[in-house]
Every structure is written in structure tokens, then in C-alpha cells.
Symmetry: C3
Subunit: 166 residues, 3 copies
């Protein structure tokens, strides 16, 4: 039915704003984590995020096929936070899979389940030295634009504030 | 006559917004590319950008003396996109030339040709390890401020959206 | 009495905007520099900043205990710029001290002296390779959010422009 997009730099208050937006919807709330606990630091981050959300959200873990997860979750939920698109992109690049992000986002937008997409801005620093990081940066920027095109509402978070973009 | 400034992170929709602004003006549109095709990756980026613009724009390549290029292009064009200031700065630093960017921007602002300047925000990441990157970051920030001071209209692009700054 | 927050990327016009805001208050103006002149480059940056401010400001240097410096400065000043929070965080991490930044900010907010806090956005680039930089980035983001929560007025600076956040 609708995509809401919340993006910003790291620790800018994105996830908190997404939790806030989720309260607009019914009580059956889901949280789709794209993060994969591949090392200790990631495990730690995932655990902390889970504690922040509390018990209010049903957690779903899906690193790659977001569209399928949304279709499956649709009957059981009133709203779903998907956190985050840039880790999803990382997963796609690591898995060396051809995943059509535009088609996935179309499917999410077409679902009856309102989805709040969380993403990172990664393109406002110095051009990275290594080619893979440059490629990631480019693809993340394009992915964020794809999400923005499909969003009915969008926010840029900075210092914990949320500026409405559309 | 006037400078319009469009800046943002990489792949934030800067160039697309510049193309959109250019449509406000007459049909004789130019695109000044400051990029130099020094390696395969840059050649590839330049080619892709050219394809995105299509045939609608006359392409001019000038890595250093933007003011002279603007003066020369003035009689033949209704609007000129200059893309981008941060690559121009890179060129200046690589050429180890003393180019007075403020004087160049003054000359561009004084021209009868409306110029849409595209630039990158590069200062919102972690302080870079190497001194040259720190110097580039500082100079890019100052250059963007110089352009902003002379701009009649300015935009910050993020996720493909354009926030009006002035 | 009040915290005003000014944050943005490097060379985005933060300090200049802070100087501008300081003029709203009485003539007894202070500038608390958190920078430590540990090497030539830093000495140079500190000297340049001091020249930019001119004689109008009383300079205080304090790398760690900002709250104590504010309490001490309160009777003598009408306004104090604290520049900047991210260098303060650097100092705390280098000194390996346990400093409760939330308590420090509470004390600053409770002071009768209006304080203009300057900070850097460092979280909008690619995830840094090294763990210390990632930790700094996280802590800087949290610190900026702590400052924002306590601010009565806040600005995001970009290309020398200041967008009001609250």
C-alpha cells in the first residue's frame, strides 16, 4: 500500500524515527532485520537494536529476498519496519547474487502492508580509496533513489531530528 | 547573470536536478564536464553520464579554466551546466596550478550565461587518514561556500530529492 | 539557560554560523576551544580559527571538563561558543577517561550562560575500515543526539547555509 522512507547518517536517529512512525499504524508491528550476525561486532549491534525496540515488535530476519518476506508477513501485521536497505545491498554484493532491487521495491510498494524502509546515507565523505567501496557507494545511492521514487513519505534524519523530504 | 548551485553526496540526484533546472532556460543547452578520463573507471563514468544527458546538451570539456570556457560559450548557449566543482578542485590540485577559484566564480557570476554549478559534499564522513585528503576536504568545503555566496538559488540533494537552501 | 546547537560537515560554515548567533547576546563573548595543539597541523588550524574570530572573543581552552569551564566562565560572559563536541569526544577517547557526556551537557544546559555548541556530522560516509573509527562515529552520533535533545535551537549547516532543525 505504501512505502515510508527514513534515511540518514549512522547514529542520526533513523531507527528511532522509524519506530515512531510505526506507532501510527495498528498494534501488530514487525521488524525485518537485514543484518547478518557474521562477526562479534555485528552480533553486538543486532542485540542492542533488539533491546532498543523491546517486545513490541515481531522480529523477522531476511538478508536477501525482502519482497518474499513482505508477502509472507502481510496477513499477520499492520506495519513492517525494514532496517536497513544499505545492509541489504551489502548482503546482495557479498552473495554475488543478481537481485533486481527495483522489482523488489515494486513488490514491497504493491503489498497491502505499509513498510517503513530505513537506509543510510554513505555518499557524503571523501571518495573511498578502494574500488569495491566506491561501487557500494554508487549502488547505495541508486538504491536510495529507487526507494525514494516509490515512497509516499520520506525523511532525512540528522542529530536525531527528522526533516521531511516528501 | 546568475549562478544556480546544486550540491549533495555521491549519487544523490545532483546531476539529474541540474538537468531539470536547465529546462527552465532556452533550448541551447551546454554541459561543461570538468572530469578528465585519466583511467578506465573515469572513462566509464563519463560515458554513462553522457548517455544519461542524451543529445539535448552540447558537451564542453574543460578541466581548469572554467571562466574562459564560460566566456567562450556565452554567445552560443542559453544555459550551461558545470559538473562538477569538486572534480575541478581535484584537477587544480593535481596540476599544482595556482587558480583563483573566487575570481573564476566571480567571472562566471558576471557572465550573461546562466550557469548551473554541480558540486559534491565530501565533509560529512570520518576525518580522512591522509593529509592530502584532509586538505582536499577543507578546500572543497571552502569552494562550496564560495559558490554558495555567489549563487542566486541553491539546492541540497539527498536520496534524489532536492531541498532548496536559497 | 539554553543550548544552541550548530552542526554540519567539515568546512560547512558551522563556526561562522555560531559567531553569527553569538552576536544576538551581550558583548562579553567567550570561545571555548576543545582542540588540543598536539601537532603542527592542529596548531595551524587553531591559529587560523583564532584569527577568524578576531579580538571580539575571550578564548578559553578546555579539552575535557566543559561543565566546569562553563560554571567558571558564567559570571564573566554573556554567551559562550563551545567548538567543538566531536573534538571533545576525541579528547575523551584519547585520555581513556570515563566522562559522562550526558551529565556534562545537563550541567551546561542548567547554567545561566547561553552556550552555542558546535559539532561535526561524521556519519554520512562509507563505514570506516578500522574499529576505532567506527566506535568514534557511533559515539559522535550519540553525543550529537544528546546535545540535540537539550538544545532549544538547532541548525544544520551545508555549503555555508544554515537550515533550522528546531
Amino acid at each position: 500500500m505504501s512505502i515510508l522512507l527514513v534515511g540518514g547518517g549512522s547514529r542520526s536517529g533513523k531507527s528511532r524515527h522509524a519506530l515512531l512512525l510505526a506507532r501510527r499504524f495498528g498494534p501488530r508491528r514487525g521488524f525485518l532485520a537485514t543484518a547478518q550476525a557474521l562477526d562479534e561486532e555485528m552480533r553486538d549491534r543486532i542485540r542492542k537494536h533488539r533491546e532498543e525496540r523491546g517486545e513490541e515488535f515481531l522480529t523477522i530476519e531476511e538478508p536477501l529476498d525482502l519482497a518474499a518476506a513482505v508477502v509472507q508477513a502481510e496477513p499477520a501485521l499492520d506495519v513492517l519496519i525494514i532496517d536497513c536497505l544499505t545492509l541489504w545491498l551489502s548482503n546482495i554484493m557479498l552473495a554475488e547474487k543478481e537481485i533486481d532491487t527495483a522489482a523488489q521495491l515494486d513488490a514491497i510498494a504493491a503489498s497491502k502492508l505499509p513498510c517503513i524502509l530505513v537506509t543510510n546515507e554513505v555518499g557524503c565523505g571523501i571518495v573511498p580509496d578502494n574500488a569495491l567501496a566506491r561501487q557500494f557507494r554508487d549502488r547505495a545511492g541508486f538504491l536510495n533513489q529507487q526507494a525514494m521514487e516509490r515512497a509516499e513519505e520520506a525523511y532525512w534524519t540528522i542529530f536525531g531530528a527528522a526533516l521531511k523530504l516528501k
